[in-house]
Amino acid sequence: MSAKFAAISRGSRRALATVGIAIGFSALPWIPPGSPLALAKQHEQPQTAPTCATCHAGVANSFKSAPMRHAMEPDGANPLLMAHPDITAQLGAYTYGVQTRDGHSTYTVSDGRDTLTLPIHWIFGQHTQTWVLEKDGHYYESLVSFFPRENTLATTPGDQGITPHTLEQAMGRKLLIWETRVCFDCHASGVGDKLDTAKITPGLECEHCHNGAQEHMVDAANDNFKTLPKSLKHLDAEQISNFCGQCHRTFDNVMRNRWHGPAFVRFQPYRIELSKCFVGNDPRISCLACHNPHQQLNHSAAYYDSKCLACHGEAKVASGTAAGPGSVAKICPVAKANCTSCHMPKIELPGGHAQFTDHFIRVVKPGEAYPE
């Protein structure tokens, strides 16, 4: 516990005692549940520093299992690799192996004569995993990734065009300095202006999206609730798309970089903005209409039906509230359920091994090319 917070806690306990004496202990239930004051009373001697969960226990607890919290798995706690302690694959002239012992994994590549083995410290992704490796002070994206659908190692998506000529090239793609920072910044917390991997926390913490949360937490512990994180509640669908797109990539990002092809189907904010039903002032099509970033992802197609029917439901269409001006939401003539299974098809990433749900909502025609 920091000296500063110890003083704050002592102050709070003194305030609590004063309140108790003045109006009797029956006043205690009026202390908001979950507030620092309440916790201080419950535990009498708080020994831990405040966290967001101190006040926002429900959402913080739920976020523990959210995908973004696991955007990077910490070294030593990677359940996926622990469940597959010996993975090997032969790709071209090179043999790859990922071994996990006592929670720690190593990445090995061999050309039959020489072998290179590096520890895996930075594990990107909760399901399909790619690793960032460090060698001689440089960072590399592992040339192979683990694909849980097939429990196999295969070429990392996007690296299919690389033909390694040396063991080092076979080990991984050397990251550009800005790539390294950008990769870590979207998969970890505490990256800041200059990447220092010793100071980062794997996965996203509250502050990552709720800018100002740290300052708010410190001030709130001092009974000052004037400094609040910037509110995200008033963002419209376009702004939310851009906000999430800071990591998940926006329409603007994809256009500026002239990215083309199915490899970029994984950039959902870009894809959804191609949809005819997307319009920035309609909250029913915002990222948050379907996804709660503080919770686990729901993979059931049926779960999303109510979201689609918020515009395409018969009652909505009949009452004229289906869509904004200039657009008429139609009722699907084929089905009333599992909308996403047809209108948001799964697209195989180049190289196979993994699929992504295409967020370009559309009427999919049989045999049509991947639309851009």
């Binding site: 300095i177 906000f243 329409f251 603007d252 500026r256 002032n281 904004g324």
Partner: protein, 372 residues
């Protein structure tokens, strides 16, 4: 007319003309035979002189041959080449001009005339010729690529077209071309000095060589070493204007965060509207629209006609609440330059947020077309 007025004389006139034509043809044939023999003799003697490295005689004989047969393309080519090789630039320009009249798309002749014009100080003409030559494929010939691109880059810098110059230097870096003049040229383009390396003061040569080397390493693809070299440069020349802008501009297509930091450092040394506009755009790329407003306003105040400033100001205003004025500025930029992707991205966002689906779809389509 005479034929219709005096119909009876027509056969006689036709006969006379036929006879006259026959006599003329016979004379011309005889003369042509004589001239042809003379021309063939000159041409073969010119080729022999050229083979024997007797340049003055070869030039003399090619000149005589061209007087007899000005349509002889090969002669003009050798006449131009021989004079270019012996520093007779005016004569070479004349020879290449004749050749280009016969074959207007002869890219090598265009390139060589451009190089001759460079030597005579006719920089505008030289720039026009070298630019056209490259667009017609003169730089596709490996033997000519370095000299053509290098001179084009010098001229583009001299004309103040710095981004175009850096594009040529990028191509030269990929060829592993390496020379002190090349380094100084890169630095001039990067630091936005519209001059030639020969004009750099003796006391500044070390600075320009070091700056050029850092840029060259960056353009060659080694961003880590380039970052270290730029770091040393900033430490050695902390108050030199243009250096941070130069590195920021190189980083700009790759990483808005790193380039924005450099533009901020530059603005502390030298306030400049273009730097403010670029800083605003980097903040817009990162989604920091409110932060982008101040530099956008400064850029627009410094130069309201600067397209970048209009786009930055328009987008920043639109995203922070003033959609009407934002749309006006973005339309102004898009009307001036219909290929301005940033202007159309901004307009797509405005129409999306205001619920104008039709205009949004139109703008997004323009963006997709521009990004192809």
């Amino acid at each position: 007319m005479a034929i219709s007025v005096f119909p009876n004389s027509a056969p006689r006139i036709i006969l006379s003309l036929t006879l006259f034509g026959a006599i003329l043809f016979a004379c011309a044939y005889s003369l042509a035979q004589e001239t042809s023999a003379q021309f063939n003799d000159l041409a073969s003697r010119a080729a022999a002189a050229r083979d024997q490295q007797n340049v003055p005689l070869a030039i003399q004989l090619y000149t005589q041959a061209e007087q007899l047969n000005p349509g002889w393309q090969e002669g003009w080519w050798y006449l131009g080449i021989l004079q270019y090789g012996s520093n007779q630039y005016d004569g070479a320009i004349d020879a290449f001009t004749h050749l280009l009249q016969l074959v207007p798309t002869a890219a090598p002749a265009m390139a060589l005339r451009g190089l001759c014009e460079f030597e005579t100080g006719a920089y505008a003409e030289s720039l026009r010729d070298l630019e056209q030559a490259v667009s017609h494929g003169a730089a596709n010939e490996p033997r000519n690529e370095q000299i053509t691109r290098y001179h084009l880059a010098l001229l583009l810098t001299h004309a103040g077209r710095f981004p175009d110059a850096l594009a040529q230097y990028r191509a030269l870096a990929a060829l592993h071309a390496d020379a002190p003049d090349l380094m100084q040229g890169i630095a001039l383009a990067g630091m936005r000095m519209a001059s030639f390396p020969k004009d750099i003061a003796a006391e500044d040569r070390n600075l320009y060589e070091a700056a050029g080397r850092a840029g060259y390493v960056f353009l060659s693809g080694d961003n880590e070493q380039a970052d270290a070299l730029f770091g040393k440069l900033f430490a050695s020349y902390p108050k030199t204007a243009g250096l941070h802008f130069y590195y920021g501009y190189l980083l700009y297509p790759h990483d808005p965060k790193m380039s924005g930091d450099q533009f901020r450092d530059e603005l502390e040394i030298r306030p400049d509207g273009e730097t403010d506009a670029l800083l605003a755009l980097t903040l817009i790329y990162e989604g920091h629209f409110a932060e982008a407003l101040r530099p956008a306003q400064a850029a627009y105040a410094a130069n309201p006609d600067l397209e970048m400033a209009q786009v930055a100001m328009g987008r920043a205003l639109a995203e922070t609440g003033d959609m009407k004025r934002g749309a006006e500025l973005l339309h102004q930029a898009a009307d001036h330059n219909p290929n301005d992707l940033e202007a159309h991205l901004g307009l797509a966002s405005i129409y999306s947020r205001s619920g104008d689906r039709e205009e949004e779809a139109r703008e997004r389509k323009i963006c997709r077309d521009l990004a192809r």
